[in-house]
Amino acid sequence: MTPTTRVPKQNPNLISLGSIGDDGSKLILHPSDVRGPFTNWRRLSAVLLVAVYVALPWIPINGFPAVFFDLDERRFHFFGLTFVPADFWIAFFLLSGLGFALFFVTALLGRIWCGWACPYTVFLEHIYRRIERFIDGDAPARRKLDAAPWTSSKTLKRIAKHSLYLIVSATLAHIFLSYFVSLPRLWEMMHGSPTQNATSFGVVLFFTGALYFSFAWFREQFCVILCPYGRIQSALTDDNTVIIGYDEHRGEPRGKATDPNAGDCIACYKCVHVCPTGIDIRNGLQLECVGCAACIDACDEVMTKLERPKGLIRYDSMRGLDGKSTRWIRPRILLYTALAFLGAGAFAFSLSTVHDVSISVLRMRGMPYYVTDDAVRNQFQIRLTTKRNVDTTFALHLEDAPKTSFSVGLDEPITVQPQQETLHPFTITIPKEDYIGPFDVTLVSTSQPGGTTLNTTVHFQGPDPRLFETPIATP
């Protein structure tokens, strides 16, 4: 039986996870403080991203929050555009476009999403770890506190830290809920008893718990083991993908700064100490690396002090780290670019087909057509929907209809209540002697406000016209 380790490994290797002990226990990693340009840029981008997350439900556009998945009304408001469930097919092109765009970025720049933009990293590194740093101190102090016996000061610190974690988690969960119920409704529910809004309360409770568990304890395990995007990295990247890597040719052999025979790496282990997933970047590209660039800043600081060139650890491709040149244009990149453009193009096109109103024409229940003594008649039902939050008036007329045909039910403009839909029947009739077979007409709808004009093809159905030419023999 191998001895149990609860402290992170001094020398992380490629064979076992740096954050899992020999007995399977999760080791608590305490990344050291790190300073540098990448850290500053990451903090800035994180502040912006959190600000966007918090602000979106507060910004009204066209009378609705900028992003609002209205579950009650089954409408999705997105920067002034409104989608109804019938528009859901567009999500396919949005997601495929985004998916291929992510493929493209990954092939080009590796796990850059994980280190810079992923909400999990943003919340963990820039909110929860900052709280921990604020309450418990720097990495050595945190390790010391972990090992210390339960004194009143440690208990107080633990209570303070976990209370702050819970407050932040609950806040993030409430903001999440406001994307689905809007802020005024959230405010109203927060003032009511939990039993009145049991589902919403349950959702907030669940998310608070999930966020607290993830960021207080689970942390890097998600990125290292669970995240599916992390798992498909090896299929998306190649030797020309820009990753964070260690220049072995320059760094090896490791040795003291004073040793003239040693490489540039002085084995100070700063890159290991700052790593949030507990790896040694000098072992090469590893699946645990989330591309946070903390090791770059840590190493650059040391190199600057030693007056050696920066970039012993840097953003570069495997080929670049090997002293060769990075090939930017390669089949994979071209394919992913083409697919991303295909997805984006299809998405843009499908967006252009979404309007503030929608109209659909259905044949009315009953027979497909009616034949009277002197005419053939079709009965239709129009479904008019407005996504606007004001009364919308539809003016309707037919185009390309045979001259002698006439329609009833389209003369008067039809007004639809805000965010509602209405049914409206109409008929098209054509005299028998002018009927030469089924035909298509165009129903033109112009709605106000907005002036959206939509054309719908209406198929006039009828019997074979030869039936009218010769008398039908009766049995």
């Binding site: 191998t2 001895p3 290797n13 064979i15 076992s16 996870l17 899992i20 020999d22 007995d23 399977g24 226990s25 999760k26 689970f218 395990q221 083991i225 009315m364 229940r365 009953g366 027979m367 009616y370 034949v371 009277t372 008649r377 009965q379 006439f406 009833v408 039910g409 209405t422 049914l423 409206h424 029947p425 109409f426 008929t427 009739t429 009218f468 010769t470 008398p471 039908i472 009766t474």
Partner: protein, 226 residues
């Protein structure tokens, strides 16, 4: 099982001395020349298995042994039954009071007539015209006129209600069943609007194309004459 000389652990390509010293162990099993490290699964991962084993037992016991919860299908059936019950109740409540007298009474109630006029104009006027004449600028519309004293099928107010609900007995004429779109309340209001153009004491004369008149008359020669 294999002799020490063929043991791949002794192959320097598998484990370095340093790794062996660090306690890294390879398992004996070889497949396509690939061997596994002998390492523990993260405990939290193992716990998810245990949690779901417990969950399964609780679930199986609660759903299949005690029947404490309903399946989705049962819940849906209950919900549909509840909707149907509500609909039936509404219809029955309306029909219980809905006789000839009640419809005539409704047809004198301005609120009911006005509501009925809205439904009529939206759905019925296409064939019967807003003035119930079934003509538009002199052109006859598909529907039967409802403002004269002649009736094709109806002999009393509840007949009007039933025709709107179920549609014309002659499906080739185009009057469809409106119950799915309007529901009994709106149909009653529409009936009231139509009858507001009539008087309780006015006669209900069979129209020339009503079933009894057609039966009496000689059937016309079939098909148009060339």
């Amino acid at each position: 099982m294999s002799s020490p000389s063929s043991d791949p652990t002794n192959d320097p390509a598998y484990l370095t001395e340093e790794q062996k010293k660090a306690g890294i162990v390879l398992r004996d099993h070889v497949y396509d020349g690939i061997r596994e490290y002998d390492q523990r699964l993260p405990n939290w991962w193992l716990f998810t298995l245990y949690i779901f084993v417990v969950w399964f037992v609780v679930f199986w016991f609660a759903y299949y042994q005690l029947g404490m919860f309903k399946t989705d299908e049962e819940e849906m059936d209950i919900a549909i039954a509840a909707i149907q019950y509500k609909k039936d109740k509404q219809l029955n409540a309306l029909l219980a009071d809905l006789d000839e007298e009640a419809i005539w009474e409704m047809s004198r109630d301005p609120a009911a007539v006005s509501a009925g006029q809205t439904h009529f104009n939206q759905f019925c006027s296409v064939c019967h015209a807003t003035d119930l004449s079934a003509t538009l600028n002199g052109t006859p519309l598909p529907g039967v006129p409802l403002d004269d004293s002649q009736w094709k099928y109806c002999r009393k107010p509840t007949d009007v209600f039933n025709i709107i609900t179920k549609g014309s007995p002659d499906v080739t004429k185009g009057m469809v069943a409106w119950d799915a779109i309007l529901g009994p309340k709106k149909i009653a209001e529409t009936t009231a609007f139509i009858l507001s153009h009539h008087e309780p004491d006015s006669p209900w004369e069979p129209a020339p194309d009503s079933p009894e008149n057609l039966e009496a008359a000689t059937p016309p020669p079939p098909g148009p004459t060339p």
